[in-house]
Amino acid sequence: MIEAACATAVATFARLITGVRGEWRGCAPDPRPRIYFANHRSHADFVLIWTVLPAPLRRVTRPVAGADYWLKNGLRRFFGERVFKAVLIDRTVTRDSDPIAIMAAALDEKSSLILFPEGTRNMGEEPLLPFKSGLYHLAKARPDVELVPIWIENLNRVMPKGEFVPIPLLCTVTIGAPIVLGEGEDKGAFLDRSRNWLLALAARSRDDR
């Protein structure tokens, strides 16, 4: 109850600040489990994705996030575990859990996942960092699940790192056509292909305006 109210409040607030518009370019909303992979520049990235998803999809879509960040204090833990239902990944080197197994289990429970394959927030001038291998391993573990690219535009300008006041600029979330892991496609080729696919979507989202 209170979780649902918080979720609605967060989405409404995000919409108010960013006027966010969701553009479906290449696939329609679908409640089947999917892996959404997006560029990562802000802590609020997945909130924006979540905001543009239709409510039934929002309920079954879970962000994959670092446990160190979301378990740091009670408030974050409440939002991370209860409101966003994040799939929390232990990012320490000495971890004993297998992150791919945890994500695959979430997909098996009919959840969709939001993944940031750059692995960390992009603070530089480059549009997109190289992808970490997690996306490949997950695609290999569940090869029949569609991988849907999402390009988030402008959110990094709303609230850059180290700033406290958000600037109410307009943001766009563009959802592109899905890809799947090719048969026998190796790790390097797949990570390059998926990254270029996301960059192509970024170029397209700008052309559309």
Partner: protein, 314 residues
């Protein structure tokens, strides 16, 4: 007639026009869109629908009087500024300057308009903000494209906040024999300028042959321009009874603000072409962004304000 009666008469007139437009749009939709979907007719109908919303909003603001109008245009400025800055390549070093622009400059400008401090609101952004925002940006020591970043932020404030705030500022003018009726000046300005836009569109669709600025806007034609500005001027002179002007004066002023409105559309189109976008935003269905709808009012408002202030106030 009292100001309320005149306002009601005006809004009723606009309402009748919109009813006719809606009926025409519906008939066109039934006749042509059912067999094969037509983007032009769909766009026409969403534009008409958005006009209903905008007229209703303005009517609501009028009902609340001065406070309503100041708040409405402050919100319009906020929407316009966010559209402008969204398409401006600012950097992290601009963050504080932008926060000041949105959360200090904009509210303060409208507060000054609200308390009617003409001496300050007429120079606040062009002088003080002009100097101060550049200084704030300089303190962040990011020199890349510094000049163009600072200049574009200032331009955004001038267009979205300073110029637009001259619409509610009309309420502060003291015109002999016109006390308590200043809302009608706003009605005159908006009615003439927006009709000019719509009439240019209609004349252009009916008779348009020769393009004025094909590089900027393929829909602007000589025929549309002459027909639209001409009929808007005529409309302005017919509306003299709601203004402190004589019919001839009203016609001359209507001509001038229609021309300014035309230039506004042209300039704002040039910026859009440069940025590679078709619309400023997506807030008003069928029209695009707030800036797409208000570009003509933005260019006409300060000129209308100063003409009225110089020749008609005491």
């Amino acid at each position: 007639m009292t100001v309320t009666q005149q306002s009601v008469a005006l809004f009723s007139g606009v309402g009748v026009v919109l009813v006719v437009a809606s009926v025409v749009g519906y008939v066109l939709h039934r006749r042509f869109s059912l067999e094969s979907p037509s983007p032009t007719i769909d766009n026409l109908n969403s534009r008409i629908k958005a006009w209903w919303m905008m007229v209703a909003l303005l009517g609501l603001a009028f009902a609340f009087g001065r406070a309503g109008v100041v708040v409405l245009f402050a919100l319009a400025s906020l929407a316009a500024l966010r559209e402008f800055i969204t398409l401006t390549p600012t950097r992290r070093g601009d963050h504080v300057a932008l926060a000041v622009a949105f959360f200090v400059v904009l509210p303060l400008q409208y507060y000054l308009v609200w308390i009617d401090w003409y001496g300050l609101y007429s120079v606040f952004i062009p002088v003080y903000v002009f100097l101060l925002l550049a200084a704030i940006a300089a303190l962040r020591q990011d020199t890349q494209h510094f000049m163009s970043r600072v200049a574009e932020t200032q331009w955004g404030l001038m267009i979205s906040v300073f110029c637009l705030s001259h619409v509610p500022a009309l309420l502060g003018l003291t015109i002999p024999g016109y006390a308590g009726r200043n809302l009608l000046l706003i009605a005159f300005l908006i009615l003439v300028v927006q009709s000019s836009d719509v009439l240019q569109y209609i004349w252009g669709k009916l008779l348009g042959r020769h393009k004025i600025a094909p590089e900027l806007s393929p829909s602007k034609t000589v025929e549309g321009f002459v027909g639209g500005v001409g009929t808007a001027t005529l409309l302005g002179s017919l509306l003299w009874w709601i203004t402190p002007f004589s019919p001839w004066q009203a016609a001359a002023i209507a001509l001038l603000i229609s021309l300014m409105g035309f230039f506004g559309g042209l300039v704002m189109s040039a910026i859009k072409r440069d940025r590679g976008v078709k619309d400023w935003g997506w807030m008003i269905e069928g029209h695009g962004g707030v800036l797409d709808r208000l570009d003509s009012v933005i260019f006409a408002a300060p000129v209308f304000f100063h003409i009225t202030r110089y020749w008609w106030t005491v």
